[in-house]
Subunit: 197 residues, 2 copies
């Protein structure tokens, strides 16, 4: 069917997005076509805009629409705290919590011998530069609690030791978590880091 | 963060698509931004094209890019068989199977007293017109095997009785289906419609 090739192409492209497969892509495209004026056209427009304007912050790796992102340019966020995360999605998660008021450094992944990702492939040299040039008093290592995340965390800690105060996120029972459903590692970490009431 | 409002708007719009939620929309948008030239720009372009060209076939209700769709205009599909389906997604599913070589009629839903959907809200009058004007020898009622689908099927059968040969899809054990996982209704239908070997 030649005249539906654009629709087919749209379905194929949508099906490649993480979290969507062929079936959900077809449903999404039908939904978009039905709500053309309300959804499809505005979505296409905003995608054009984002494609034209989105860029990585040259300083921290966050995604924004300027060479230096909003967080890096906000004076009130220059409180000396620098939170190191793996990915922009982690930065977004941290911002949603609203608990952190300093700046970020997005590594862009984790060290991985298997995938040949060394410090140069990540934003680690830039992190070391920032410690030297910005007024950083504390580096909070907020990498994921996975093997690769913790390996990367240890590597960065080695590099920065003695130059700045290093902290990491507390490990323990998640809020709302039930002991019966937690893995042994989490229970062990929570027990070892138990607090006085 | 004012300068990321386009990205936030894009995430919000993606999160409204069926099958996506806020988390998967964020993942999809990050993925799109990272593969901007390869994915985001082409996706925006094709959405613009589809928004400008996609329309419902005036004859059968299929979605295509012309007033009359490819299937309705293809002479070789005028074999007298007309397959009635609820939705364009059902037409697509039927086309993927490759088993049917006639034409379609997309109702655009099912009759529903609860949602005040009567024959006029569906493409049922148009179906009756088509039986009268096109050279239709057999109407295959391929509505979903749900209560609403079957109610609609019975209604259409009543309307068309005596005017054209009516058939419906066989019901039974799906290919690859295990009896232990099938509902009682399916097993009953399969037993009652058992075939001689």
């Amino acid at each position: 069917m030649s005249s539906t090739q654009d629709i087919d192409a749209l379905i194929d492209m949508m099906a490649k997005l993480p979290g969507l497969g062929p079936r959900s892509a077809r449903r999404a495209v039908l939904h978009l076509i039905r709500k053309r004026a309300l959804l499809l056209t505005p979505l296409a427009d905003i995608m054009q805009t984002v494609a034209a304007t989105a860029r990585e912050c040259l300083n921290c790796g966050n995604i924004g629409t300027a060479d230096i992102c909003d967080i890096c340019t906000a004076n009130k966020r220059a409180n000396g705290e620098l939170c190191v995360v793996e990915d922009v999605s982690d930065l977004w998660a941290m911002e949603r919590s609203g608990v952190f008021h300093g700046r970020y450094h997005v590594l862009g992944g984790t060290l991985s011998a298997l995938d040949a990702i060394g410090p140069q492939e990540l934003r680690i040299p830039r992190l070391i530069d920032r410690i030297a040039t910005e007024d950083v008093t504390e580096v909070i290592l907020a990498l994921n609690a996975t093997i690769d995340g913790q390996t990367t965390s240890h590597y960065i800690a080695d590099q920065l030791e003695g130059r700045v105060q290093l902290t990491s996120l507390a490990q323990g029972v998640p809020i709302g978590g039930e002991l019966d459903y937690l893995d042994d590692g989490t229970i062990t970490a929570a027990m070892l880091a138990r607090k006085k009431l």
